[in-house]
Amino acid sequence: MKLHDFLIPPTFGIAPPGLVLPRRDAPPPPPVTEGRDRASTGMAHLLRPGEVDLSHGVILYLEDISVSFDGFKALNSLNLAIDAGELRCIIGPNGAGKTTMMDVITGKTRPDAGRAFFGQTIDLTRLSEPQIAHAGIGRKFQKPTVFDSHSVFENLELAMKTDKRVRRSLLATLEDATRDRIAETLRLIHLDGQADRAAGLLSHGQKQWLEIGMLLMQEPKLLLLDEPAAGMTDDETARTAELFKSLAGSHSLIVIEHDMAFIEQLGGKVTVLHEGAVLAEGDLAAVQNDQRVIEVYLGR
């Protein structure tokens, strides 16, 4: 089932034809009560990570999400659905609500209204940040946040998917399999020579890579990447795009970016956010030629 079959954002009604293809005969989203019931049973899934219910081919639903800060509507009835295995780019001017949207998905911000589901069963609005991380959503922050005083190796070690309760951490030892996995990730993010270096000494681009590596160590189903290519050289940007494209399919990715060249390299569907809601959606060329998108970016 395709994205638009499932969800018809209200803003699509005024979108010019050809840009998006809303289908009026799409089945309605699951009723609220049913969703709530399932969500409570969905809690059991958390104990066994990797149990995201993808039976409808959709990994993330955001429905009518609203968030306001002191009267300012950061998100205004946002509707968004991400297919399993999809690579989605999100663009939008400053204050469009991109980071707030990620905060809602990862549990940092609770929405004032609306529903957020991970797969069919997991109600994100009811879980804490660590629970959401365990469920399989990994996040890379806009400003690269690595643990400066830890070595690159330790950063990856801490990120690795494992039992993260206190007792396990107290007794944890480094297994050979763990070392291998970390070494593999180090190669993937081109930091194999820097394993013992303090992460705080890395260049900005390398920190971005390290954070991506940490994300991969978590083995998430859905990766949220906030400006992953910021501060990278053109060469690094191209390699990042290659990496993300290779991840798509087995993972779902949401990439927030401002760098249009990077988005072009990624080649996925693009969603434009504006004033907390979806303004347009489609491939990059179509979005770039959308009159309203041009207006939003150039100002009136």
């Binding site: 990862t106 804490s128 660590p130 922050f141 643990f147 951490s169 303090a198 249009m260 770039q288």
Partner: protein, 412 residues
Amino acid sequence: MSRTPFVVRFLAATPKSGWLALGAFAALFLVLLPLLNLAVPQGSPFHVSDYAITLTGKILCYAIVAVALDLIWGYAGILSLGHGLFFALGGYAFGMYLMRSIGRDGAYKSELPDFMVFLDWKELPWYWAGSDSFLWALFLAVALPGLLAFVFGFFAFRSRIKGVYFSIITQALTFAAMLLFFRNETGFGGNNGFTDFKRILGHSVTSPEMRVVLFALSALTLMAALVLGRWLVGSKYGRVLAAIRDAESRVMFLGYNPLHYKLFIWTVSAMLCGLAGALYVPQVGIINPSEMSPANSIEIAIWVAVGGRGTLVGPVIGATLVNLSKSYFTQAFPDYWLFFLGALFVAVTLWLPDGVVGLWRRLRGSASPFEKGGREGDFAGVAKDPAVGEIPPSPPLEKGGGGGILPKGGDK
């Protein structure tokens, strides 16, 4: 690897050089000093006086407290200004046993402690039950501070109280406890507290042998605290803790629950303080509510700051230096001690952010710049949360070879 027995891994966490240092420490404090005190006659220049033994024993107890505070301040970035409370609670718990073991030798020749007779109480309050048992008192001395810390920490950390706010609340907590213990009706001797102890397990508290035994036990406990600390800090748990100190939100998004991590070290730290308090009280012979005064707790933080946060040996050095100068100053210039202490704190904050140990490392040129990574400048323990989720800076619309949002020539 995982088959290595736990005890071996626990002990192996302390490196060889650490064990050598501990061995030297043990030789000095468990053998040499006791011998020089007990076996060498008083006139000899090698004789170590009773005063020196008691003072050193006191400082050893303080050093345990300093190590305990450093575990949460230096390694988890949580500054407690109320650690004196846990120390005093441990002291009071053991003090109850000491009071009971006075028996009928008190001023009023009663089974009840003197202050209860004075208040005209006819029987022990319920919470004094079992206080005549040495083991129960020892258990209480560790468990009470641990329980209080657990409950307090649970609510404070769950509410995500951090930085100066947390420090202020701990300060208020110890102040409130002090007021409570000052009341006679609380049943802990009011402002006089407990004193005039006679014996432990039937042996006189004031005998030279008992003095040396308590001294040696304090030294042993300090060594155990250091080995425990080294293991905690070197484990994956310790790395997560340091990560929480540096970037708590990031740790949460990795799937760790900082609440549990902080709560564990916080409770362990309080229990260590309680143990130190239990060792301290029989050595100084008195415990009263002034031990809970906020100034005492602040002083503990100064010991750690002077010695060097985020190192295990630092707090020991800091507690020793500050307390030695304290006993010198309070005799030589009794009016100026607090000024000196304040000046010391300011000086360390300004010029020695990593304390004596940091200075030593800098002089040897072995300081790794990331020993202190991200902590410089947040002396009050206010770990700066990384700019996670803050309002994004104005992003560049154009970068490198890529165009802006609009396609090239999009203004057609």
